[in-house]
Structures are given as structure tokens and as C-alpha cells.
């Protein structure tokens, strides 16, 4: 079980807990504004764009080409941008906070 917080663009902080699935599914199941996951998690829509904190970057595997290409020209893309549907929930993510990009 990992405790993960989502911070929305409006500054709302939503505390969640998850043990399996993707961070997109976790956000969606907790009704986090700005995370839609319209394509169901197949990296086709970029509606689950989040920013991870600089100190948490190493906790995630690098993005594949498709994810990078989807993000390159998205609104609010930074070097810390990821698509939450591509990030699996793991124990090692316990305590992190993700910022919803849009």
C-alpha cells in the first residue's frame, strides 16, 4: 500500500492510497480534477498529465518513445512531465505528491 497525494491546478490536495494499477486509475477513482484517463490507459490521449517532484524522478522508470512524443507538445509540459497511466503504483512511491498539469 502506498500513500500518494495529488495536487490539482486549483491547489486542492487529495490524499489517496493504492496498491495496484496505474497512478491514472488511482487519481480517477479518487475523482481528482484534471485527470480524465479518457483512453483507459493506453497512452493515446494525454488526459492524465502530471508533474512529478524533482526529488522523485528516480523513483520512476524512464518514459518510452510514445509517452515522450505525446508529451512533447502538450500544454504545461516540463522536464518533470509524465502520463500517469504509464506509471505503476509501487510501495516505493509511498509519500510522494504529484501535481496535476492541467
Amino acid at each position: 500500500m502506498a500513500k500518494i497525494k495529488f495536487k490539482t491546478q486549483e491547489g486542492q490536495i487529495i490524499s489517496t492510497e493504492g496498491s495496484k494499477g496505474s497512478l491514472m486509475e488511482l487519481a480517477r477513482d479518487n475523482n481528482v480534477k484534471g485527470i480524465d484517463g479518457d483512453c483507459g490507459g493506453v497512452c493515446s490521449c494525454a488526459t492524465c498529465h502530471v508533474h512529478i517532484s524533482a526529488e522523485d524522478v528516480d523513483k520512476f522508470p524512464a518514459a518510452n518513445e510514445i509517452e515522450k512524443d505525446m508529451l512533447e507538445f502538450e500544454d504545461n509540459t516540463t522536464e518533470y512531465s509524465r502520463l500517469a497511466c504509464q506509471l505503476e503504483i509501487k510501495e516505493s512511491l509511498d509519500g510522494i505528491t504529484l501535481t496535476v498539469a492541467n
Binding site: R28, D29, N30, N31, K33, D36, D38, C39, G40, V42, C43, S44, C45, A46, I66, D69, M70, E72, F73, E74
Partner: protein, 419 residues
Amino acid sequence: MKEDEICIIIGASHAGVNCAFTLRREGWLGSIIIYDKDPQTPYHRPPLSKSFLTSDSDVDDHLLMSLESYKKENIDLRCGITVTNINRNDRSVILSDGSVQSYDKLVLATGAKALVPDIIGIKNSSRIFYLRSARDANQIRKSCHSSDSKRVVIIGGGYIGLESAASLRQLGAEVTVLERDHRLLSRVTAPEMSDYFLQLHTAKGVVIGLNKNVSSIESQADFDSVICADGTQYHADLIILGVGVTVNTSLAEESGLQIDNGIKVDNRTQTLDEHIYAIGDCTNHFNFHYKKNIRLESVQNAVDQAKVAAKNICRKEAQHDTVPWFWSDQYDVKLQMVGLSSGYNEVLLRNKENDNTSFSIWYFKDEELLAVDAVNSPKAYVLGSKFIKGHKRINKSILTNTEIPLKPSLLIVIESKRT
């Protein structure tokens, strides 16, 4: 907003479920009740013809929202209940068990059902399947696994037909796709894309029959014969029909709402009754970008309209004004499409030499970019959406020159402002 207000949503798929959750996010304090005749907890439909068919996953692995989420947001999900009537005068609906439920706001998210084509013998066959619900997909999967010869005939060369073909081929089936038109995906893509998918499926061992108008199906003891108007016959252990949909408008129509190839709604997704909204596949709406009335069969449209309806119900001003997008996965090919290509007079191909695994097709009407189909080219898809939404003019010769990278700064033509 008051706590004693009731919002009823009819239909618990992508549109209905997203509307319910958005209502809560936008501050709806009253009750939310969703009815659906399907007893299954609402699930994602796109995987049904894709990863769901090829895996042994359960529909519970593809839920739109976990059951706990409905409880947490106090959304009353009532699956397995059909709404039989809408009484607009006293703002209530009648349910299949005879009970009556009143509403302050009503959202119709009734969707569409698979079209049953006029083919002789279609009703007598037990080997015919449609692909719309999880139950359909489960039956197809089961029937394919239990057949030794696994001869599958798919009627219809659209997305459902081709995605099913790819999935069943991966399960080792012998697959034939019969398309009435002279090319695949003729309703939605340019001939270049049709050719690409024809080659892709043929290379994977799928038999594609074009100009094949299926006229009858004869059921034998061990198989069905699918017979075309030109006399050709195909033996099938399993037949999948993917020839389009019929919109579920009867509830709306019987209650006197306006129907014209779908339930008519305005840009706030409101029907002619100020207390009734309609969203998703069942609606006919005006698209601001393309300036025409359209009906879309897509998850994205369902979700977008769901949000607009929810905001308006919460008395926040919101208008539905989006450029449609779609996606399809077949084998290891990711197809992403944005915009509506109808009315195009020029098609440009961006394709690196000797690369037949990734390319994009750009549809123009004169200088206006209408749509982009991107095969394994997410960047083309993302940029295409941006250009279309922003009405950007594109330098066509740079677009087709793959030596030059896809970058907005290189592609957008800056038009001099008239003074």
C-alpha cells in the same frame, strides 16, 4: 443548489458515469441516480475489441470507476434496471419494476446498439455475435476458444471489424473480413489509409474480401455458410457483425423530444426541455469548429459532453466546443485520429523513405487543415490537434519533408495581419 434536488442519468457507460462524477466535482449536492439495463458494473468499451479479446481478463479489470468510488461520491448506481418512460409533465421516470422516480434534472446517455443488417437467415444462426457489450465480447472469446477450426467471418471492415480481426488473429483464428465497399474504413479515412490497413491485415494472414455484399447466412450442423451477392461462400464457426449502430432514441422520442439522427441538443447539451440534457453517442449536436450538425460514436465526445452537461446542471456556464479525436489499436499499430476529414480536397502524406511502420496523413480543404490520421506517430497526432484547434495555416512542403522535424515553429505559416 439544494440537497433535496435529484439528478437522474439514464445510461451508465462513458457518458453517463463521467457526468455523475463531474456533477460531484462541480458541486452538485443533491442525489444522483444512474440507471442502466446492463447488470454489469460500468466498464471501458474500447478494450472489448482489443486487449479484452486477446487476454483472459475479466470485465472487472476494465471498470470505468471502482464500486467504492460510487459509494464515496454518494452516486446511486442502479444497474439492471430499465427506464421505460419519461413523464416530462411531472418530471418523473417510470422503471421496469413499475416504480416511479421523480427528477429535477434528467440526463439521457442512452448510447447506441449494434445495427442488425437485412441478411436472410441472420435470426436463425446461433453462431452470430455483435460486439457492443462485455457480454458480447465474452461470448466471442469463449466461442473462439472452444472451436477447433476457429474459422471467423467478420462482416464489416470498419474499426470494430478490423480490431476484432487483429485480436482474433492473435488468438490463432482463421479470419476473413467481408466489406461491402471497395475499400476498408471507407466511411472514415482516405484511400491511403484504407490501403495501409488492407496490407497490414493481409500480411498478418487475414483474408479481406472487398465489394462483398453478404446476402444470406445458412446454418449447417457444424458451421454456417456466409453467402455473398456475387455467389462466393465462406464457412464460419463464428460470425461477427460490425456494420454500424442504431441510436437509442426511443425514450426521448416517445417523450416528445426532438430527434434528427440522434437526440437534438444545443451547445450546452440541453434538449428542447430545459430540465433534460442528452450526451454521448445518442446526440446530434452542432460542432462549432466544422460548423455543421454531427453525431459521433466516440468515447471522447461522450466524456466531453458529459462534463458540459454536468457544469450546466450545476449552473456554471459551459459550452461544448471540441475537435473530435479517436484512436484504434490493431496488432502493434497505434492509430490516432483528430478532426473530421469529410469535405477534404487534398491529402498529404508525411512518411520517411523506406518506413512502412509509421506515417501520418494530413487532410486539407484548400489551406485549412481538417484532420490528421497518425499511424505510430503520436507527435503528428498531438501537433495536428493543436494546429486544427488553433486554425493554423501549415507550410505544406515542410510538412511532407521528413528531413525537417515536426515542430510548430517550422510548420506554422505566420499570416501578415491586414491593417
